[in-house]
């Protein structure tokens, strides 16, 4: 089990005008990303509403242990303060710190899960940005998936007759969500983390199994039917593992 702040993982900094928001978000994200360095930089040095150059700078230095850090910000001056802090980092460190243009909470949680899965800096940033697509109108499954996520409606349209289907170059299993609260944040994160351990692309009702926000936006409640599929001939083990996890009820029966 990696230590918190493992140097192979990208760290996250949450910059908010409110220390309570930043600290609350660390608590929330830590549920799904226990080994990622999640650092709050909220409020001013004397605890008022605002942002602090010194706090943001210290948080970035704490979060980046070599693999880089992604910073998520709330309102305008949080971004200004963070950009100013970046100007004062040395060139080497600045090159691996990225401000993600994403909503603080949704983007922060998505980024935390990606970092926990061991994703590299650009992938963690992409995960944060995927939250932009889920928060607007017309955010269909494709839009929700984010970069590199050209949803695969073909697998969703496959025949439902059999619980296990082995079609040309593809494999899928259909399961029913059994845990009481459905695929809410914690089990969804567990699902995404497991999906991330496989190299093959797997979909859940046509959605990328590695996209936390896309999966949460499916709104899968108890009793919902999910089709877990991979068109990759090598994807059988991944589909089975994910289907077994759903079948297990995520330990929430």
């Amino acid at each position: 089990m990696p230590e918190v702040g493992d140097s192979s993982r990208v760290g996250l900094v949450f910059v908010s005008h409110s220390s309570k928001i930043a600290e609350g978000l660390v608590d929330l994200a830590a549920q799904m990303a226990p080994t990622v360095a999640l650092v709050a930089a909220g409020g001013t040095d004397d605890g008022r509403i605002g942002t602090s150059f010194d706090r943001v700078t210290a948080a970035i230095v704490e979060a980046d242990s070599g693999a880089g850090a992604v910073v998520l910000c709330d309102l305008g001056s949080a971004i200004l303060t963070t950009e100013t802090a970046l100007d004062f980092l040395d060139d080497e460190q600045r090159a691996r710190v990225v401000i993600a243009d994403a909503p603080l909470v949704e983007g922060g949680v998505a980024a935390a899960v990606a970092a926990e899965a061991g994703d590299a800096l650009d992938a963690v940033v992409a995960a944060a940005r995927s939250a932009n697509a889920t928060s607007g109108d017309g955010g269909g499954p494709d839009a929700a998936g984010g970069p590199g996520d050209a949803g695969a409606p073909a697998s969703a349209a496959q025949p439902e007759a059999a619980a296990t289907t082995a079609t040309t170059g593809g494999y899928s299993r259909r399961e029913t969500i059994t845990n009481h609260d459905g695929l809410h944040a914690r089990p969804a994160a567990e699902f995404v983390k497991l999906a991330s351990t496989f190299g093959q692309r797997v979909t859940v009702n046509g959605i990328d199994a590695r996209s936390l926000l896309a999966i949460m936006s499916l709104g899968l409640t108890k009793g919902a039917s999910v089709e877990i599929a991979s068109e990759d001939p090598e994807g059988v083990a991944a589909v089975d593992a994910l289907a077994d996890l759903v079948q297990s009820g995520f330990g929430e029966h």
Binding site: D45, R48, G50, T51, S77, T81, E83, T84
Partner: protein, 215 residues
């Protein structure tokens, strides 16, 4: 006659005084269309700079003073004004370099560098109802004065006049940047607090100059 370290230190002291004096007015302007912290934050920042002036090493230049202001504002002002003014003073310090005396052209160049720093940081354009609407007229007036051969004191006076006019001219504008942009049309009729504080600071610079040169 050029402006030296005495002018720079006097400008900072006058800035602290004028911001303290107008603290309530700036808070009121910001409360109308923002979050109400502009006067408070700037007052805290400049109040923090003043005692540090005593620690300046012998032989310090105007650029050193500008840098001291920059670092103090960046680390003590919690709102957008911290990074924006901090960047402005930092770019001004870089433009001032290690010169011990600043002539009219140098002053115009320093003001332009400060304005460019704010634009780079805040991405605001003229007409967005921000401090840029005071800075850009000031920079343009300073450049015109310097080009006509005005000395540093006259250049700063021209900049301060233009900044004040620019601040007043923000009143009919619709805010397109910062917290005030959330208000849209409702921001019309209110003066931008950042433009107003810019006008106050540049007037303090001009006053310090006319004092130091006896103009």
């Amino acid at each position: 006659m050029g402006l030296d370290i005495t002018w720079a230190v006097d400008w900072v002291r006058r800035s602290a005084d004028v911001i303290a004096e107008h603290r309530v007015e700036l808070i009121r302007l910001d409360r109308d269309i923002g979050d109400g912290d502009h006067g408070e934050n700037l007052d805290r920042g400049f109040t923090a700079v003043v005692p540090k002036l005593d620690d300046l090493a012998a032989g310090s230049t105007p650029g050193d003073v500008l840098k001291l202001v920059a670092m103090t504002l960046i680390s003590t002002v919690g709102g957008a004004a911290g990074p924006l003014y901090g960047t402005a003073y930092l770019k001004a310090a870089a433009a001032a370099g290690s010169e011990s005396s600043l002539d009219g052209e140098a002053v115009a160049r320093i003001l332009a560098a400060a304005r460019d720093g704010i634009v780079a940081r805040g991405k605001a354009e003229s007409g967005d109802k921000t401090m840029i609407d005071a800075w850009t007229p000031a920079v343009d007036a300073a450049a015109a004065a310097a080009a006509s051969g005005a000395d540093a004191t006259a250049v700063l006076a021209a900049a301060a006049d233009a900044a004040e006019a620019g601040a007043v001219a923000t009143e009919p504008l619709v805010a397109r940047k910062g917290r005030a942009s959330y208000l849209g049309e409702r921001s019309v009729g209110h003066r931008d607090p950042g433009a107003q504080s810019t006008a106050l600071l540049l007037r303090a610079a001009a006053d310090a100059a006319s004092e130091s040169t006896g103009a």
